[in-house]
């Protein structure tokens, strides 16, 4: 299988490089529950603009990402996290 891929890559002019996808993991996956009050922890999973990082970047499992989403939403609700960052009002 890997060989097939390598030849296909070579045909596309990618040289002899064989790309082995590295499985990303997130530290959050180890937690039993994600605390919504831990602002510093949640901030690691937000962009500068305050958006939630996609799990292809963070390496969270589907389950963890769901829990993270709820935790972030709770934190936003009680003003521990903002809904968006960097917006400057025009008035």
């Amino acid at each position: 299988m890997a060989r097939g891929k390598a030849t296909a890559a070579r045909r596309r002019g990618l040289g002899n490089r064989i790309i082995i996808p590295r499985r990303k993991t997130s530290e959050l996956n180890k937690l039993k529950a994600i605390p919504y009050k831990d602002v510093e922890l949640l901030k690691n999973y937000l962009t500068e603009r305050g958006r939630i990082l996609p799990r292809r970047i963070s390496g969270n499992t589907a389950r963890t990402q769901r829990q993270l989403r709820e935790a972030i939403k709770r934190a936003r609700n009680i003003a521990l996290l903002s809904f968006s960052e960097g917006y400057v009002s025009q008035d």
């Binding site: 009050k37 922890l41 009680i78 003003a79």
Partner: protein, 119 residues
């Protein structure tokens, strides 16, 4: 023990007496409905992530309330009426003691993100 965790933010511009008055009132309401405030944790003054009712700071409080649906319902309707409450959030928790312990740990030892990256 199963129960509720209720976070609420008091107006920092309110005087100490007014704030204590509110806390007494909340306690009476919860107990009047057959609930019990198992733990009351004071998180203290924090900067809000966004302005609420023109306030940039708030006094955070946490209640751990025994499993009594009427009590939490009554408390939330009171929160809605009080001018001195900026925001609140109530969630059901499976283990109040564990949640409280986790919160105290967060407050004394800081964020979990440090302990996680050490491992």
């Amino acid at each position: 023990m199963q129960g509720y965790e209720s976070v609420f933010i008091l107006d920092p511009n309110a005087t100490e007496e007014v704030q204590n008055g509110l806390l007494d009132k909340f306690k009476a309401i919860v107990e009047g409905q057959g609930g019990k405030i198992v733990q009351h944790a004071k998180w203290g003054r924090r900067k809000l992530a966004y302005e609420v009712k023109k306030r940039s700071h708030g006094i955070y409080h946490l209640y751990y309330i025994s499993h009594a649906p009427q009590a939490i319902k009554a408390l939330e309707s009171q929160f809605r009426l009080e001018e001195g409450v900026l925001k609140w959030l109530s969630v059901a928790v499976d283990d109040m003691e564990a949640e409280h312990a986790a919160f105290e740990k967060l407050r004394t030892h800081g964020s979990l993100s440090q302990t996680l990256s050490e491992r």
